[in-house]
Amino acid sequence: MKPLLSAQHLSMQFGGLRAVHDFNLDLAVGELVGLIGPNGAGKTTVFNMLTGVYEPTEGTVQLENRKGGTEVISGLQPHKITRKGLARTFQNIRLFKSMTVWENVAIARHYLVPYSLPQAVLRLPPFGKAEAEIRSEIQDLLAIFKIDGKAEWRAANLPYGEQRKLEIVRALASKPSVLLLDEPAAGMNPQETLELMDLIRFVKDEYKLTVLLIEHDMNLVMGICERLVVLDYGRTIATGLPAEIRSNPVVIKAYLGEDAVHA
């Protein structure tokens, strides 16, 4: 089957440092894949190459576009890649802090807004109609994630877990086909992590998404990922099912050191 997202021979060179070396990944429709590895392995760099924050030094990224054709997206600006259906969240939460919860979500819908600037400034009928639609659409979306009661809150005032949730909701509002989650469970307690796992599964099924996630929390990774890719020092050292990865000596060595393999 043709992959939805395909990264071929991606490399990223920062001056003399090769942060990522020959990274390959095919994501099939509906897959939930985990990208793991020790600190500094290059996971976020891979995300940044996929989403256009960095232009890969070598290699290409291909995405199936909304019409069903395949196109190269590496080298495009981030906003163009997002519009083609690749949305992401951030490792360190990047909400628009002083904006309200619903406004945060509205930003992701901005590129779909049907009215023009003059229509907005002159408050012509298309403006009022579209704004009402956006509001109700976002309210529905927030209701699904049970934060509709806080639509008028400033994003910065949300509890930590809900800020993480809002980041996911915001990414969803851009109508993606692939969702990239960068350490969604960072800073969460075990209970919150469990809820997050349910949330990710739910989102994936409800919106028929393909998900790639970076995570350190092994319970989460082993619990929901169908397939794992392990990075170390910028190189892919293993790929496979969670159970295989768990007992792979190369992976154990990368995480825990040489001695742990023999222990």
Binding site: T51, V53, Q77, P78, H79, T82, R83, A87, R88, F90, R94, L95, F96, K97, S98, M99, E103, A106, I107, A108, R109, H110, Y111, V113, Y115, L117, A120, V121, L122, R123, F127, G128, A130, E131, I134, R170, A171, S174
Partner: protein
Amino acid sequence: MRILKNLVLLGGLGGGLFAVLWGLISIGVLDDYTLQILCTAGLNIMVALSLNLISGFTGQLALGHAGFLAVGAYSTGILLLAHVPFPLAIMGGALITALLGFLIGFPALRLRGDYLAIVTLGVGEIIRVLIINLGEFTGGASGLRNIPGYAQNIMVNNPAAFLWIFPAMFIAVALVANLIQSSQGRALISIREDEVASQAMGVNIFGMKLMSFTVSAFIAGLAGALYAPFIGYLAPGGFDFLRSVFFVIIVVLGGMGSLTGTILSGVGLTFLQEALRTNAKDWSQAVASLFGTSTGGLTIDFVPMSQVLFGLVLVILMIFRPEGLLGTKELRFTRLFRGAK
């Protein structure tokens, strides 16, 4: 609905305020001098508003708005001297400035933060120096003289100017307010909040910044265009860096990202500066008469002291209200009427 209600109220309030002021002018309660300061305040508000759009809402610090004011003023002045019909000359000045803003924005807005501030500062200075050196068109260092006024009769120029400036200011306020409360406006604010996230959410941040900068230049240019026939004489010295800083002060004092804050501080600072200037003259004379005309060859000039006081007011306000008078909040006029329901 709240937006609509706000607009209707704002329109009513603006119309009402206009009617009251115009009434006071007609019966002669507001003298010509006060009227002149009111007009100046209106123009200052327009420029500060345009600066707030790019710096307060979009988060891109610009330090060269006196340059935009100058381009608008000189363009309109030159057009008026060439006998271009009045409304056309005004619109011409604003549009030329908008075009210039667009052209400058193209390379400049690729820079961020401090770098953009330095570039806009430089552009402002370049404009001023160009005006001095293009004497053939601009009158050079000695200025552009005898620009036709709003009225044939110079005695009623200020009331006539008020009839233009007040509605123009009101339109500018409405334009920026409507822009901010739209998806485009939200996108601008998201750029201020977090460029990386904004871009990752599909916002074309460069395009939006360019739009914001161009609209900003348009409004500042319109203020300049209205300024030329109001004052009748343009000198390049009036459009220096300090003038740009004055607009920045209005914006910061009112609150970066607050329209009503800009209006309040625009009126307040214009009157404060004028009061300090005129009173300083009195002090200087009082001191001079106290010591005689000469104090051992040393003449004390109190006029610069007004700037010290002006600075002192700013320091005190910034210590107690570092976010400006209103922060990013707005005075909502609907609130005034909520109790009545």
